[in-house]
Symmetry: C2
Subunit: 265 residues, 2 copies
């Protein structure tokens, strides 16, 4: 029996326990009744990822982030813009279905993106607590610098931005994936969960980083590692692709990794 785009969407969303009001998850392009010939899972449906998916014969792309450079697809600003137009034309010509799967995978329990990050770091046995937007791990005592080196190696990150003294001894570590590094979410975790170190994907530069700088200036041993948005969430989409492959043995499922968006010079 052929698998339709809507069948796959139903399968993805079945384990989502709580609905997200005003969710960004949607079939951005394509026909829900189209037969799925192959699925490409990616963190970010870049032009290059779409081309690779198409070459591989996938006609359903499941992307964590959106197509057009902003969180809400419903309010595009770029309609008259040639990059936007060319990307849209490519999708239409190849008749690709593109499903944004963002809020749903974050609502898996545990959060599917966080679970992938923790596995990639090899920290499954150190998990202390999963909160709704963060996870707390209790690592064997090591320095912030040693943890930074481990993070770089296990996630394949070339350059990591850090705040604080890298010789700081750390045990209790907070993890926030994606854009959850803002002060409102991250700062209270330090005190509430007695954290030595936070790792996050992305956040405003003068919120959590400046808090950590001030804390260190007051003699408190705290530190911060900033992984990058993509770098912190891509492992979760890879884990999701692996699981989807197991659930759909008759459909080719590809994971398309996306390179870091930044070079550092």
């Amino acid at each position: 029996m052929p698998i339709l785009v809507q069948d796959v969407i139903d399968m993805l969303t079945a384990p989502v326990e709580t609905t997200v009001p005003d969710s960004v998850d949607q079939l951005i392009h394509g026909d829900p009744h189209a037969v799925v010939r192959g699925i490409a899972v990616t963190f970010m449906a870049t032009q290059q990822a779409l081309e690779q998916a198409s070459r591989l014969g996938a006609n359903l792309i499941i992307s964590h982030e959106g197509l057009f450079y902003r969180h809400r697809h419903s309010t595009p600003i770029l309609v008259e813009e040639p990059v936007y137009a060319a990307k849209k034309r490519f999708i239409e010509e190849r008749d690709l279905a593109v499903y944004r799967f963002h809020d749903g995978v974050h609502r898996y329990r545990p959060d599917g993106i966080m679970e992938g990050l923790i596995r990639q770091l090899g920290w499954e046995s150190f998990v202390n607590e999963h909160l709704s937007a963060a996870s707390i791990v209790h690592l064997p005592r090591s320095t912030a610098g040693e943890i930074a080196a481990h993070v770089k190696q296990s996630l394949g990150i070339g350059c990591l931005r850090t705040v604080g003294d890298l010789t700081t001894a750390c045990e209790r570590v907070g993890l926030l994936a994606g854009c959850r590094g803002g002060g409102d979410l991250a700062i209270p975790l330090f005190e509430k969960h007695k954290l030595d170190l936070i790792l996050y994907g992305e956040g405003p530069e003068w919120e959590t980083p400046e808090y950590v700088r001030d804390a260190v200036g007051m003699g408190q041993g705290k530190a911060l590692l900033v992984l990058g948005h993509l770098e912190s969430e891509q492992p979760g989409m890879k884990l999701f692709a692996d699981r989807l492959r197991g659930m759909l043995p008759d459909v080719p499922v590809f994971f398309i990794p996306v390179n870091p968006v930044f070079q550092v010079v």
Copy 2:
């Protein structure tokens, strides 16, 4: 005649042509009628900057960004937090006045922060147009890599994040200081002003950077340099301090530079 805190605030705000609704500019702490013994100007009133200001004998701190790690001082979340409490206690014990001067300096014409950035880059003679949130410069033809090297050297930046091919020839460049790197502001500039390159302080990672990646993937010669929020705005506060010194010859005016908040490992 003694200069009061309020006199200085009146002097700063006099050139502001348009008022900002719901502005963040305010006397965060201190008595507007206190006599000013010295002024310390800084991008960011970190704990260390406050200590240095106090040692120098300044009792009025003028800071571009806020004290407590979030844009709106009016909605603090950190009252029970020891770093917050210690910083507040330090300010109270030293009887410091702290004035946040953010929206006002951005509303100078030209934007005082942008003017400082352009001067520090030595690009005054290349300015093409000042827009409300960005400036357009027309540089002698050079590669994105050559411009990156110039930016690093003139702003004292150790590591710069870039997107695109550094051999791309660039002439038309858009500048966005601070947190104005988001897609809504930055992306339309490329097409509207026929830009080859954008430099911004800070912005969401999967907006403008991913747009530039896609444009490059389609064969368009575009590039992006991400300076850092602090790195892009500090020169403007230095310029402002220099001008304030000229306006207040009888009051010591210090500029307190703040180190980059991130190390890169």
